[in-house]
């Protein structure tokens, strides 16, 4: 946004300077870019799909062997699968499941990640110990850990979400800790400490607000990778039980018929890739928009 000379003079002369929220400003500005707008609209489309699935599409679990592997028709817009289930209905419900996993994992990795990260950044000895454990967790490949957790716990949506969230936590901890360590060196934190601000107030007033922007960005990426991970787990057969339709599960079902009915693979594959793609692009845009160096320029 261009700021003219007269604007600056006006602001300088104003008796009460306008209090603006720089984060909000940056987000609003970013939302005006065409790609951001397109991706946001696509994401809204997926959201609508997830919410409206029960009203728009039929029963995704109704098995009808007489009608199996049928081409698209008026009853089933995208045809039927090997058990005669409505592919369109299953795909719509798959959006519901993917978005649920994405949002839940973003939240469930952010909350412990921020708490542990702040502790690790504020406490020298405890922090060093915590980071050892975090390093060790990061040495185990994330998808492998999620697969093992999902396989060893009781199968279900909650298990799936927990199994994917746990390997996401270490990355969040590292990020938050690095923010805390750099913020702690800032003069205003020194100032706050020197006037007697301590403990909880220092964290909530001065440290925590600085972690918000990077955590939002990281949570967006976590959501994208969680959607992939849940598809991988369902594809490998350790995701949700068959009565909860998922894109990964649909692709696993389509494997045997893939050479003759490739569309069974294409619908869930394209939807899955598109959802992850727009989430990642929005993450990149958020990351650009919330970059403190750029924000400083726009204020």
């Amino acid at each position: 946004m261009a700021v003219s000379d007269s604007d600056i003079r006006l602001n300088a002369n104003a008796a009460v300077p306008e209090r603006r929220n720089p984060t909000l400003e940056a987000l609003l500005e970013a939302a005006r870019e065409p790609w951001t707008l397109i991706c946001s609209l696509i994401l809204l489309g997926f959201l609508a799909m997830a919410v409206l699935a029960p009203f728009l599409a039929g029963d995704p679990t109704a098995i009808n062997p007489a009608q199996r592997l049928r081409p698209p028709s008026f009853e089933a817009f995208w045809g039927t699968d090997h058990l005669g289930r409505d592919v369109f209905a299953r795909a719509m419900n798959g959006a519901r499941m993917s978005l649920t996993v994405g949002v839940c994992v973003a939240i469930l990795s952010a909350i412990p990640g921020v708490a542990i990260g702040i502790f690790a950044g504020m406490n020298r000895v405890g922090g060093a110990l915590v980071m050892r454990v975090i390093d060790a967790m990061m040495a185990i490949p994330a998808v492998l850990l999620a697969i093992a957790l999902a396989a060893l716990l009781q199968p279900g949506l909650t298990t799936l979400i927990i199994a994917i969230s746990i390997p996401e936590i270490p990355r969040m901890v590292r990020l938050v800790r690095s923010v805390v360590l750099s913020v702690r060196e800032q003069p205003y934190v020194d100032a706050a400490v020197s006037v007697g601000t301590g403990g909880m107030k220092l964290v909530t007033k001065h440290i925590l607000p600085n972690t918000v922007a990077p955590v939002i960005v990281q949570a967006t990426y976590a959501a994208a990778s969680a959607i992939i991970a849940s598809a991988v787990l369902s594809f490998l057969g350790v995701g949700t039980p068959p009565d909860i339709p998922s894109w990964g599960g649909m692709m696993a079902d389509a494997r045997k018929f893939f050479q003759f009915y490739p569309m069974l693979m294409v619908y869930p594959g394209v939807l899955l890739s598109l959802l992850v793609l727009v989430t990642n692009v929005l993450g990149d845009r958020l990351s650009d928009a919330l970059d403190p160096r750029k924000m400083a320029r726009s204020i």
């Binding site: 994330a142 009781q154 893939f258 890739s273 992850v276 990149d284």
Partner: protein
Amino acid sequence: MIRYAAARVLAGIPTLLLVSVFIFSLAHITPGDPAILLAGDNATPSQVAEIRSRLHLDLPLVQQFGIWLGNALRFDLGNSIYSGKPVTELIAQRIEPTLVLSFVTLLLTVLVAVPLGAVSAWKANSIIDRISMGIAVAGFSIPVFVIAYLLVYLFAVKLRLFPVQGYKWLADGWIATLNSVTLPAIALAFVFSALIARVTRASVLEALGENYIRTAHAKGLGAPRILFVHALRSVGVPVITVIGIGFATLVGGVVVTESVFNIPGIGRLTVDAVTRRDYPVIQGVILFFSVALIFINLLVDLSYAFIDPRIRG
């Protein structure tokens, strides 16, 4: 140099110890008694008790961990519940396809991603840059099995250039092996390249702003020489770092890809073990991949010293 290397090796030991604690605990979070699981449906209580004492499941957890770790250090990871074979033997049998696939993937990735990232940085904000970075975002957004099936449909089903699935062992001739891992390696490299191309671009872009690049220009050196000799040299450290980090993602990809292409590697072993809830094998495979990852990151750390003499000190 030796002191640096020794320090890096020693730093890996506590990590490895903690990793083994996690992996040991995995079997104990599973609901139900592993002895009952092992004994099967028709076991008598005395059989279950016998299994429990044979596997030391009646001892305190700490003692169990000590025994497990001691055995693991002697390459004894227990026996598979399903086949009864030693876990280390199962892993050893399946190591070749996984190694070949990872190596070909790494080679493809470095050959494609590094030049692509460098050119994107050189022509920053041009059409080439936008297209290749667009592909890069797509690369880590499209799940590896979606790319895998796309490749299979195009190159195996339609064009019949490569086999749809399967693996040819090196003992039967390396050309056949290469032919059988080409499609899976391309699928994996697509994801892996995306990450590395982005990091290469960012690092080269930063390097191109440095004074020594301006000096090289002033000396009248051509663009390829400046880009590939002067700028790329300085980005070795970040690029190798991200290759090390990327291996964790690659392992996940290997598990999925081997299962799509029916390659009898360690990834396939993992999936089979998971569907059978064969937890000694699950533990063994995770331990194997984690040790491999720690080892690769150790190599990455050591390579810094070769690339950048300042780190040796």
